[in-house]
Symmetry: D2
Subunit: 342 residues, 4 copies
């Protein structure tokens, strides 16, 4: 079976990472690559690392060009997906890497993104309980945000199995690629190298409601989310530290066993053995979330750390994983669990 | 007035940073530089950035060599300070950058460091209420740990003025120089560049009791500390994110005003205006702690971020600041508030 | 056809990169992984990025354990390969990533490495004219050094086709992984981040004679090599700038055309179009050498820049490519030309 | 004596580094800070590392605002200096960090910069033989380019004392701050971290003629310059490797002694002892050029490596040094020779 795939927004970081992955996918034939300002330019100029596609040219992002593919990945800025999806038939699988269709609550959308809420699509985090059945055969999928992926996977077993009171604290340290390939003084190498800074603190980041939505769905009581993103001097990777008040009587062994069992069948989540800590470098280029779970007895808290590559399990890898599930392919096709380190 | 100063452990990162600072101090004459394994080597070999001292040679760390100076800075591994201090007269000001004399509670010492507790010296964080009077004229001073400095300054006004319930969550992201100048595979450039990893998580880090001690002293109720250190790919800098449950009714404006007023007279702490976030790069080489304070209403939390250079306000700068206070010099002599950026 | 492969020195950077590549090789079954000081430890502890092999344990490097495999990759320090190879039968393909069997001239060996010269094996740079026929069916192969790979590919067409007088100047800027996974103060993250320094300058680097040997073989007149390696703050990658006096009358167009034609059939060398410059980031994780060739008319020089990943085309990728050629497999099996960027 | 100083282009990297230096200059009072697009913004917003000037506001760059100062530093894009200088009286010392007045040859200007040549001012590299006398009392000074500073100091003694045939090869590896504080996709942290790339190769870089002019002035035969700049992942620093064919009979000892003697009286140039190599990290924030000089006998070449901080000895430090000379102050006032490392 050969699947014909188009990528819109191909020259952005999400788009180009999808291209890197599907160029190694055994069942995929790469069709149209489209862009807005980059239309007319070659892959060689824009993405010199994608040597196998060097001769390809970016076309404009139009319905005509995207139509006729089996799958269309959208790596566009927020707000553009709805119209494109509307014009593509129900026989086309549309997988959206933007936020447009992630939130189910219109108030959340309006508060954090503004404008009219486009609706919601099946949410592409297959590790959520019961989620794979919603993705199988789906023709519209919303890929999760990068921070929500790392944060949700870190606290999901604890919330599902009532290990903690859901007053959840997340600090997520991220590389710069999450901010996209857009010229900006604050993201210049001169500014970010040797530097650490928090941003969109105190509840302002748009990924707040998405984290709350994901974990709230599995909690019997309302969840509270405190989320602090920090920019660090690396290209790829998100390390999330997550803590919450431990339910009385839960031991470290119980917590670890709960996590290990929860993710036992998940090939893209690894609960690390012994006292090993997740490292973002271990997951560079890999569709993998590494986790460690501990109990801080003195503080009465569960402490979980997760590591993902924001461009892979955090975006493009998740998108390909969802395509595989939706189309009934091997869920791991085109994906690797091994990182590029050191 | 010329002060004759010796530095023991001169070729370590703390020691060499003290040298960098005091080589620009108007009142200091640099005397003996001592080391253990580096004795006999030149500054030019060991610290090629200290051009003004290039011709100096490291001597062995002995009482004989250190005696006869007005001030002796100790930049030694934990456990060596007590014996040296005992052999130096009361007329010598000894400023210890190790942990040996920071903790007042023997149980804390035994639990986190092991071995016998050496006692405690005046604690070199002048920004603690009432602390300067204890440092003036002191002849023994314990320089705070780097993480406790960033964490304490971040939460001190909130604890002193009851803005929060003292169930305190700290995540501190640090550069590699805090780990010292000691060969180690885990700290190789190949391992740390492009990488983020937490370590000594879930209450295991030795700086836990020091943070608790500092803030607990100003709280009417027991404080709980959750502290997660994260290693990031930069040489210098600690960014600390601190959150705690807000006391009902405290507004963002009140919180900000409390912090601004608390530190109004402190030249080495800057509460940033508007929505500016602290950046570690802004304080590289500077004896400065930058702070921002906000309220996350949805999460019901105070959110504070602090940035320091772990080698300056976090160690060597604090040491020089304490020397200045102890000897009645201008507190800012030899120190700058301006960072080396970009 | 399934090939049973062992890797000696599996936990070093060369060894672990071979593992990363062959774990995705369609024809390879991974057999014994061996090490010296790491024997008894798990892959999960030593190489947490190799999730697919996490459960494997490192065994001691002995002939007994390595025997019985179809292919043995050696990722050992210099000086250990000869004895191991002697004890493995002629039916075992031994591919050595150390320098032991690269040099054909005993004087060069003694001068640059010292000790007795072990001899020479077929040299694993298939892009050398006529070299593939020597590698097909070979049972012993010496993988080139990382610097010699980048330098040789940069100047080979110019030397073969007499574009330059062979007074060759190379400056190669390298990431830290080329120095291996060995604790050392000079390679600490604190020392290398934000830093540039040359080393083994003025003809002292051991790769000098290898570069001279490679290019001298295709020159009708003696070649002279000036080679300056520089350590830069990144993990992976070598950028080589190569210049030499242009033969009178050679134009930029001729030079470019010569290079393009020379490498036209090489899938792992790419002469970049237009004015694009090679970037090391474009080849991270890829078995690829990117090149640009220009003429500096005012200086009368050919200017060539090459980029490789020192651990892939510079070591492990070359090793796998050679295995593929030796065994008659698809030369590209287990290799990718697409880099992991950004 | 108090000198009133204005800085035009104060929020750029050159301008802000001048501010950092003169804020510690004992004789300077900082007057107007001006900018184009940043006029009206505060130092706190634009340059949060300059805490001592946080309350200052950027004014528009006009003659009215700049007039009335003793010294005006210009940190503007090329092409703006001539008009401003014309409107400032001869009693104002104007020190220009742009290229406008560096070149003496109009053809060079037109070829490399285009447009009309504005003329030339005394060239601010005091280490050139005889140059200090031209700078003393000058009221117009052109600060050298960053690459020409590192390259010229590396080869100057060799050219002056005929150690080499002046067919000079320079490869200069630079941090990103040399490219300025201007939004650009190619300079994003995501693009530069983990990356090395050459640019303006093969004689295209504008600093080519300046290097040739500097060294040609001291050569009895025409000099040829091959110059290759490489961008590396660090903020500050230029490491230059310089080689040239050795004049027959010159020994390593002679070469070293020539350099050591040549720079013996220069406090801002250090010829390193023994086998120490310059490191850019050693000179971060320092007005210092570190050098090493060797002979590669096999290649018949002199090999010199120099390290500077492009923003200090390469720009702002040189500017302050020139001001000190011009006004008869201590040449080292406001400058340090000690770098901020690690």
């Amino acid at each position: 079976m050969t699947i014909n795939v188009a990528v819109a927004g191909a020259s952005g970081y999400a788009g180009s990472e999808i291209l890197r992955l599907i160029s190694a996918h055994p069942d995929v034939e790469i069709g149209a690559l489209t862009g807005a300002t980059t239309a007319g330019q070659s892959v060689a100029e824009l993405m010199p690392h994608l040597v196998s596609l060097a001769d390809r040219t970016i076309e404009p992002t139009t319905t005509d060009i995207l139509a006729g593919h089996d799958v269309v990945f959208l790596g566009l800025p927020h707000g553009h997906s709805a119209e494109i999806a509307r014009n593509l038939g129900d026989d086309v699988l549309v997988i959206d890497c933007a936020a447009d269709f992630r939130l189910t609550d219109s108030h959340d959308w309006e508060k954090f993104y503004g404008g009219e809420h486009a609706g919601s699509w099946p949410y592409g985090l297959p590790e959520l309980p019961g989620q794979r059945s919603k993705l199988r055969g789906a023709n519209r999928i919303a890929v999760p945000g990068c921070f929500p992926t790392g944060a949700t996977l870190a606290m999901l077993p604890a919330v599902v199995h009532d290990l903690v009171h859901p007053d959840l604290q997340f600090v997520s340290i991220t590389g710069t690629s999450g901010a996209g390939k857009k010229a900006s003084v604050g993201l210049l190498g001169s500014e970010v190298m040797g530097n650490l800074r928090a941003y969109n603190t105190a509840g302002k980041h748009r990924h707040n409601p998405e984290i709350r939505q994901n974990l709230g769905a599995y909690s019997t009581v309302p969840v509270t989310v405190s989320f602090t993103p920090v920019l660090a001097p690396l290209s790829r990777g998100i390390l999330t530290t997550a803590t919450a008040p431990l339910v009385a009587g839960v031991t470290a062994e119980q917590a670890y066993a709960t996590y290990a069992e929860f993710y036992a069948d998940e090939q893209f989540v690894s609960v690390l053995p012994g006292d090993q800590q997740p490292q973002t470098k271990s997951v560079v280029g890999a569709n993998m979330c590494q986790l460690q779970v501990e109990v801080d007895e003195a503080a009465g808290r569960l402490v979980v750390v997760s590591a993902i590559d924001n461009l892979v399990k955090g975006t493009a890898g998740a998108a390909v994983q969802c395509m595989n599930i939706a189309l009934g392919l091997d869920e791991a096709a085109g994906l690797t669990v091994n990182g590029v380190a050191p």
